[in-house]
């Protein structure tokens, strides 16, 4: 079986349905709701086990991750007065579970859909512009963005490219990872076991790294946009 014929056997499209003429990718929304259900269930379990004194193992592990991301976010946005911790932590948790969901049989990652990653990238972009305007004022924001010939086109392209790079980086990492896993699983059992296990492990790592990168870049873009330096005032 050649790689091309194998590729043709794998359905990389998303089944859609239309509600009042508006199209939705059914599998993506279903899988996103699964991710949300898992996260909310985890949050509910965590809430029931929260202890004011000595924390249990679940609370301890969550606190360690929470504090790491909180400190990272707060140190990146130091002195700017931007409360981004709730969003950054939720974004990381969501992307992590979403990236790993596709490794379960019969499920696809919600991030294996450009709609998801582009939506989140647009959210990041909007936040970057919002905090940029809030920090510099509308005049300062446009002065920073436009009045820099010959760099004017470049700064605009740079800002818009962030949407593309953020969304494509995450989307294609997960898409290709799941595609490769599907190709490996087309092999006979004896041939797919070792590479399958290996690629699963790599995919877990990629899922973790991509969730982290998306979160950190969002925070960093906001930090850069709200940094008022001497030359731009």
């Amino acid at each position: 079986m050649s790689l091309l014929t194998a590729w043709l056997q794998i359905d990389v499209t998303h089944p859609t349905t239309a509600v009042a003429g508006i199209e939705f990718n059914v599998d993506t929304i279903r899988n996103t709701l699964i991710v949300c259900a898992l996260l909310i269930a985890f949050a509910a379990i965590l809430r029931s086990q929260l202890h004011p004194g000595v924390p249990g193992p679940l609370q301890n592990a969550t606190e360690a991750l929470f504090e790491y991301l909180r400190d990272l976010t707060e140190s990146t946005l130091e002195g700017r007065g931007i409360a981004l911790v709730p969003l950054a932590i939720s974004l990381f948790a969501f992307l992590l579970i979403a990236n790993l969901l596709g490794l379960l049989p019969g499920l696809r990652s919600p991030t294996n859909d450009w709609n998801t990653t582009l939506g989140l990238a647009l959210m990041s972009f909007t936040l970057v512009q919002f905090y940029g305007i809030k920090k510099r004022g509308l005049g300062g924001y446009f002065k920073h963005l436009l009045l820099q010939p010959p760099f004017f086109p470049l700064t605009v392209i740079d800002e818009l490219a962030k949407i593309v790079t953020l969304s494509f980086r995450l989307y294609f990492n997960i898409f290709v990872g799941e595609l490769l896993l599907a190709l490996i699983l087309l092999l006979p059992l004896w041939g797919s076991l070792v590479p399958g296990a290996f690629w699963m492990a790599i995919s877990v790592f990629i899922g973790l790294v991509q969730a982290f990168i998306f979160t950190v870049l969002t925070v960093s873009y906001i930090a850069v946009a709200t940094q008022v330096d001497e030359s731009h005032g």
Binding site: V26, P86, A93, D113
Partner: protein
């Protein structure tokens, strides 16, 4: 149910739906987990801080108590030394007073004894003088063979004795 298949880069209303779902989930997660976790962490941090401050306060109190204890110990030692010095001085004064009193008493006894001795000697001299005068009168009477006027005799003898004493 399935009407169409969306391609790799097809954008549709899923984008908006995903964003809405995500934002709702952020709110739910914050209310359910991250918010309580943050308050627990803050409470624990405050408790640890309080504990550290209390430990620091206890250390300061202990050091202060030790300083006070040392100061009291030094004060007590100083007082004890002062008391010993005072007692030594008192002892010395008392000794000198007693010594002086004893000396006075001894001088008094000696003076008294001397007075008595003088008195006794005077008495003895007087007695001896009377006896000598009698003996002299008797001897002279025997030599002369007649009795002299006793009163005149007596005066003569006493004068003789006094001359003898002066010569001696």
């Amino acid at each position: 149910m399935i009407l169409l298949d969306a391609g790799l880069l097809t954008i549709n209303a899923t984008l908006v739906a995903q964003l809405v779902i995500f934002l709702v989930m952020v709110a739910v997660l914050w209310r359910l987990a991250w918010g309580p976790l943050t308050s627990r962490l803050a409470a624990r941090q405050a408790r640890i801080k309080e504990g550290l401050e209390a430990a620091e306060q206890a250390r300061r109190d202990r050091e202060k108590a030790e300083q006070e204890y040392r100061a009291r110990l030094e004060e007590a030692a100083r007082e004890a030394r002062a008391m010993v010095d005072q007692a030594t001085k008192m002892g010395e004064t008392l000794r000198q007073e007693l010594q002086q009193k004893a000396k006075q008493q001894a001088d008094q006894i000696v003076a008294q004894a001397r007075g008595e001795i003088d008195s006794e000697r005077q008495k003895a001299v007087q007695e001896l003088r009377a006896q000598v005068a009698d003996l002299a009168v008797q001897a002279a009477a025997r030599i002369i063979g007649e009795n002299l006027d006793a009163r005149k005799h007596q005066q003569l003898i006493e004068k003789t004795i006094e001359e003898a004493e002066l010569r001696a």
